[in-house]
């Protein structure tokens, strides 16, 4: 995932509550003791509550993203605890606020690791922070299940890092694949913010376009948060593109899309997963109107099913989590809340498979529970199967997981309508493979 965002309508009061909860979480963590987790010793006593940290921005401009991580985590924890937990342990989700900035994230990570004796796993997803924080988690031997798309981790070297979302460069290939097979257009304007997350899409898009016979008519890397992009828009339109592919922060997008509208652009616009979120939607609708946004904009995101046992269980857990989840009706189709749900479930299943809550012991089992013979879709199913001596293949709400040697697993993609939040067209693995030139 490139950037935070969410579909849920969350209020100022809820934001303040989350921020307060983040502060309380950090305070409680700081008071909990200083024993480092991992290092071979069992992290918890016989009945201690085990912590899963939602390591995300809960304050600052990317704060809505933290809501996704927390929502997925608490829903999974609810389901795990309802099924009896792991070897007598129940779980809790801890909010760890990294503010979305490396300067804040590193001390937050250090503090979390040093002061949380029952920390057994981390769920996160911010591309811009991974290079700073993943080494810290790895050094502390805490498994980190991530939805972050930092391309440096395409060839990840950290054994405690696992990712079930492709790198941002793969997202770039999916953009090219969608343009080729989903729209039939051939002339692309690539318009991306000059931040690391947005730029991570560009190499894949350019390479994918080349493999698929598409033409990048113009490629603009735009400075963020400017008062006007009129000059950039003129350059873009002068190249006569048929489709605009884009990612930027919401306010930049608002000004850019407004400029495109003003200049008369009526063609399709394709966004990345970084355009996901209520802030982006609000800015885009303010710029071009809801009708145009619904009719001409799609975003290419990982696709998760919206039916079947895994999804029904996720949905039930989401609603059962009570006041910890602000808007379950919106979150039930939010892929970036579903990812941490699966990640948390996988952590718990790995512990069961390893018969240990020690991260050093159960870390290798994170992969093994996706390679077994018995397919399970829920924690309860997995627990029963493991208790029966079977090996399991967890296929959760976000689908099949198949880790490569770098601990990366890609998923299905779809072009989603930003207003209805429904998939308009699937981007198959075969299409993406073609874009990758394989």
């Amino acid at each position: 995932m490139s950037r935070g965002g969410h579909r849920a309508r969350w209020s100022a009061a809820h934001g303040a509550r989350l921020a307060l909860a983040g502060g309380l979480g950090l305070t409680l963590a700081a008071c909990a003791g200083s024993a480092a987790t991992g290092g071979g010793a069992s992290p918890a006593g016989a009945s201690a509550t085990l912590e899963i940290a939602a390591f995300s921005p809960f304050t600052g401009p990317n704060a809505p993203y933290g809501y996704f991580q927390y929502t997925g985590c608490v829903a999974a924890v609810h389901a795990i605890n309802a099924a009896g937990g792991v070897t007598g342990h129940h779980f809790t989700c801890t909010i760890v606020d990294n503010r979305g900035e490396p300067a804040d994230a590193v001390p937050a990570a250090n503090n979390m690791v040093a002061s949380s004796p029952h920390l057994v796993g981390i769920v996160d997803g911010d591309s811009g922070l991974m290079s700073a924080t993943v080494p810290l988690f790895n050094q502390a031997h805490i498994p980190d299940l991530s939805a972050g798309g930092d391309v440096q981790f395409d060839k990840n070297i950290y054994p405690y890092f696992w990712r079930t979302t492709p790198g941002d460069d793969v997202a770039g290939y999916t953009l090219a694949a969608y343009v080729k097979f989903g729209t039939g257009f051939t002339r692309i304007a690539a318009v991306f913010g000059n931040d690391q997350a947005a730029q991570g899409n560009v190499p894949g898009l350019v390479s994918g376009a080349r493999h698929l016979g598409l033409h990048i008519a113009v490629s603009e890397s735009i400075a963020l948060d400017q008062t006007t992009y009129a000059t950039e828009v003129q350059k873009i339109l002068a190249a006569h593109p048929q489709v605009i592919v884009t990612e930027s922060d919401p306010q930049t997008a608002g000004v850019l899309l407004g400029g495109l509208k003003q200049a008369g652009w009526t063609g399709p616009i394709v966004g990345t997963s970084g355009t996901l979120g209520i802030d982006y939607d609000k800015a885009a609708i303010a710029a071009i109107g809801k009708a145009a946004y619904e009719a001409r904009f799609v975003r290419i995101i990982q696709y998760a099913q919206q039916s079947g046992l895994a999804w029904q269980t996720w949905k039930s857990a989401l609603f059962a989590a009570g006041s910890l989840v602000k808007d379950p009706a919106s979150d039930e189709t939010a892929i970036y809340a579903e990812l941490p749900y699966d990640h948390t479930t996988m952590l718990a299943l790995a512990m069961l498979a390893a018969h240990s809550t020690n991260p050093v012991t159960f870390n290798p089992y994170i992969e093994k529970i996706t390679q077994g013979r018995t397919v399970v879709h829920t924690f309860a199913q997995g627990k029963a199967a493991l208790a029966a001596g079977k090996t399991i293949d967890y296929v959760g709400v976000t689908g099949q997981v198949s880790f490569d040697k770098y601990h990366n697993s890609a998923g299905l993609w779809a072009a989603e309508n930003p207003v209805t939040n429904l998939p308009e067209k699937l981007v198959s693995a075969r299409d993406v493979t073609a874009a990758e030139g394989h």
């Binding site: 009129a230 608002g254 609000k282």
Partner: protein, 295 residues
């Protein structure tokens, strides 16, 4: 040719937005000798005030009236009441600057605490547009340019052709001497805070409505460029701020067109540094050029 025209037109538009704020900022510094680093947060607060009080109105004239009023009141409160209290206690220039930073952060995070981290947006309206040689300019952008020109002219008239303008210049030049000439520095400064705040508010609402969406940090981000325009023109010199804004506006648009969009901010800052190397006092410097922070 269209691209060149676009650079000029949208450079002027960018400059217009910058100039309204930069003139307010530099005028206030020139007369009060207070480096008000809360200017950006006041600007943001004015957008929030307009958004809340008018029910998200995008009518620029109503918005500017509300923005100017809220900016004037806030500026007076912060400048004359809060900063004034510190000045009366003999705070140093550095201390005052830190106080304004503290106020800025309080305003910004206060707004974020109330509103939450989400951005706020205006409703998309279909603005009239005009085509100038292939360059499409919206009515809102044209209004911004006109307002900037009128505001700049008004400030020049105020400073050059009115008794109060003379008092402002006298206060800026020599407070003691101004007192002997029956000028009330306290009153002059108070009115200057009001005028500066009004310009700040107008700039804020034009920025917010022009961009279509905003957050608690919108003004703080914009303030950096705005202050650069003031410094480039010669701090304390309203006409200089206009020229500074124009240079930054056009250079940044030209860089976006000729080099690459991601270089537009860099190019503006390179020009700023280059000019200051040649003219450390800025392009124009007049009545407040030789002042230290806070007498």
């Amino acid at each position: 040719m269209t691209l060149l025209l676009g650079i000029v037109i949208f450079g002027v538009y960018s400059a217009a937005l910058l100039a309204i704020g930069a003139v307010g900022f530099t005028l206030q510094f020139g007369v009060t000798n207070v480096l008000n680093l809360a200017f950006g947060s006041i600007l943001t607060a004015c957008i929030f005030a307009e958004y809340g009080l008018t029910g998200h109105s995008t009518n620029l004239w109503i918005a500017m009236a509300v923005g100017a009023a809220s900016g004037a009141v806030l500026s007076l409160l912060i400048g004359h009441v809060v900063v004034g209290a510190f000045l009366r206690r003999g705070a140093t220039g550095f201390g005052i600057a830190m106080v304004t930073i503290a106020i800025s952060l309080m305003v910004q995070f206060g707004l974020e605490a109330i509103q939450g981290p989400d951005i706020l947006s205006y409703s998309a309206g279909s603005q009239a547009t005009m085509n100038i040689g292939g360059v499409v300019l919206s009515s809102g952008q044209l209004t911004t340019i006109i307002v900037a020109v009128l505001a700049m002219a008004a400030v020049q008239v105020l400073l050059r052709m009115t008794k109060f303008g003379l008092a402002m210049r006298a206060t800026a030049a020599d407070v003691s001497l101004a007192r002997t000439c029956a000028v009330s520095p306290a009153r002059t400064r108070a009115v200057t805070w009001l005028i500066s705040g009004a310009l700040c508010g107008i700039c804020g609402v034009l920025l917010g409505i022009g961009e279509g969406s905003f957050s608690a940090s919108t003004g703080s981000d914009f303030f950096i460029t705005l202050a650069a325009a003031a410094v480039l023109g010669g701090i304390g010199k309203p006409a200089g701020a206009m020229i500074g804004a124009l240079i930054i506006g056009i250079v940044s648009q030209a860089a976006a067109a000729v080099i690459a969009p991601s270089y537009k901010t860099i190019a503006a800052w390179v020009i700023l540094i280059a000019v200051l190397v040649l003219r450390p006092q800025g392009i124009l410097a007049e009545f407040a050029a030789d002042r230290e922070l806070v007498a």
